[in-house]
Symmetry: C2
Amino acid sequence: MAYKKLSAEEAAALINNGDIIGFSGFTAAGCPKTITTALGKRAEEAQAKGNPFKIGIYTGASTGDTIDGVLARAHAIQFRTPYQSNNDLRAALNKREAHYFDLHLSELPQYLRYGFLAKPNIAILEASAITDDGKIYLTSAVGIAPTVARLADKIFIELNHYHPEELAGIHDIYEPADPPVRREIPVYAPGDRIGVPYIRVNPEKIAGIVETNLPNEVGAFTPSDEVTNQIGRNVANFLSSEIKAGRIPASFLPVQSGVGNIANAVLGAMGLNEDIPAFRIYTEVIQDSVIALMKEGRITFASGCSLTLSTPALEDVYHHLDFFKQKILLRPQEISNSPEIARRLGLISINTALEADIFGNINSTHITGTKMMNGIGGSGDFCRNAYLSIFTTPSTAKGGKISAIVPMVSHLDHSEHSVKILITEYGVADLRGLSPIQRAETIIENCVAPEYKDLLKKYLQLGQTGHTPQNLVAALSFHNAFNQTGDMRNVDWKTSR
Amino acid sequence: MAYKKLSAEEAAALINNGDIIGFSGFTAAGCPKTITTALGKRAEEAQAKGNPFKIGIYTGASTGDTIDGVLARAHAIQFRTPYQSNNDLRAALNKREAHYFDLHLSELPQYLRYGFLAKPNIAILEASAITDDGKIYLTSAVGIAPTVARLADKIFIELNHYHPEELAGIHDIYEPADPPVRREIPVYAPGDRIGVPYIRVNPEKIAGIVETNLPNEVGAFTPSDEVTNQIGRNVANFLSSEIKAGRIPASFLPVQSGVGNIANAVLGAMGLNEDIPAFRIYTEVIQDSVIALMKEGRITFASGCSLTLSTPALEDVYHHLDFFKQKILLRPQEISNSPEIARRLGLISINTALEADIFGNINSTHITGTKMMNGIGGSGDFCRNAYLSIFTTPSTAKGGKISAIVPMVSHLDHSEHSVKILITEYGVADLRGLSPIQRAETIIENCVAPEYKDLLKKYLQLGQTGHTPQNLVAALSFHNAFNQTGDMRNVDWKTSR
């Protein structure tokens, strides 16, 4: 091999305070793992000597603990975008130790190219193979890797032998030209290939190769329970009724599905519903449930940005690559999350809300309006441009002390304009064509937990007139009751008029 | 002519309670004017006899008073979408007499085709010419006309001789196929023609022709003043500095500009700025300022959905059609506002906010969170997918009693994720890559009126921690102070902790 072999520590020694690093990967899948571990130590040593050591970080989405966790604990993050889900990083950014900016995932690559964000001078990519002429074959995700590889002055490769070389071919790497010379992104079906299976870089930019053999750090998702399973059945029954009504084509449409146990339950229920034909996925994260349904023939193709699979499921895929490489394709997030393609393909978009309000607005990111949970992720890329945009949430949290449906969301990520259907374990609110008061009545009737129905009906009577009958004195009183007493049901209307 | 000629009253007599009508036009431009006037009388007569008479209305955007005003005053509107700006209709929907649902303008045609909204059984189109084989040439706007003409069972034409037959050719009518067989919309530059200059319908659906000779009901926009002119200069200076920094191509990019006196001032200032090259427009509403800059050679092409011009400006265009038909093209709103095209062309998107908050969220629609002003219009279609999304607003209203910049918007239409630059008469807040606290500091420093700076700085100190330092007790206190005392400066922090 033509490239210099380095240890992780040797690579980390070539990274300096103030550097800005772009990483491969999307979720923990496909992220480098060893150079950042060494870099965390290097940062701590520098800081112990009184020297500053902070870097800027661009990723596809969340990462494994060896990036966000290690570097957050080392206080080595100057800024971070576009998404995270690590406990220690979350604590750091909620203390505002690290500047975090939450971004639609499809936008990051072009904002880097446009110069809207500081240029990444270093890229660290996890690869399953690399050729002497600079062809890099990625592992189980793509993310922003093509763009940061092109922009960076210096590239480090973690060549991870855990991933088979036969994975080559599963990726479809395509970077659009920028305005004013951009053309269409020529994807017309989830399986369409438009690029090449590798990232091509100038070999002189490759500063070294670190060889590893490590599985992804994908944690287990919380298993389904009765509430999530009921949400899944409600989604599946709703979709089958839409097919019967002729509002979804009988041949069905590609599905985008969010991440986590609700998403797994939704796909599982769709797989079991005999009125829904075998279907295709066009999404960002391919989860375990997709692999299971693919083996059953219920999912016929999945285009995504990452294989965010448990280790047993990923090994299953790797042991049957001949089967799965015909049915799975990994794209850069600029393409997997493209608004152009979401609208053209007509995605059925199913995402999870942290909180919804009775007028159909969604909070995807902030707990009680202040604390960042993870980030908006791809939900905004998809829901705005989908054929049909569905949001799901359990109706309550913390044993009923929190209603997921409130008078006014404490932070708003998806406005009423992007939310067509809201589904909880209690039922389905179809908001299409409804005015705000009609939306409120429909959501309270169909989606709210019984113990909150009367409270929300009373809220609507609090005397405000207008197209959207909010009461600005009482609008956030559910949250304030929770902050003050630990239970939203203790809301005090008397002080709220 | 092969079609039955009708008076407006005869046409109105063929429309019944419960009918759902789709209209041509976008703003007052291109809207029918006489059948609805007669229909309003018919509704009032029916109601006087104790018979219900209400219809559903789909339009491109706002209309002339002869649609929204007449029918609102006649209490004849059952539901209305997607945008309005009429005083009497506004009053009706804020009393919730009429169900109004506010929608991204690009979405309406496809939602009608998908069956998500009730089918329009009648279309009323204003035409400049019609052929015996069913080719309809529109007047000064397109809107949703192609889709409602296709879906409706019955079409009435208002053949308006005010518009010259030579207007034929200015329209480019194209309706995309629906998923799963939709292809790219092949527009790569503002001037690209992709369709035909007419709407083609089955002649048997044409129930009658009403001949008219009436100008558009386009009202005069409020003239520019020193505040709006300063906003315009701030926008123009910001754009020229972005060109110099290499973040906007030196050849510049197509501009989308909202409606009203600020938009006119912005385009005027861009025209005067010598660092900005002659540019092209890709927008929904073509206003007077575009025509003026076209004559000066500062705007070289304008693609829009309507010619929303004052009568003198429209007559100027009609008297020099040979010149302007080379430089102006009118498209359906599904194409003028297409997210796919906005992102591909790389639009510089400039829209007006009703209210912004210190974290970069925008309220475009609701006064103090409850009263609908107009609607979201195309702002969401453009800002989410633009190359660069700019929002403008005067820093205060009502002589300083209202700050347009508040701790938390009282209604949210465009989240922090869609707002990259905020500009008032005081200056420019560049929010790209900033965390929430950085955004707040930048907005307060650069955009807020002097009399509100300290109040907003104090708000940020109100003790909440977290990534986004909102205080949910005080977040809406500016609005509550205004509702209770008529002046936001009377905000009472003591009750807000």
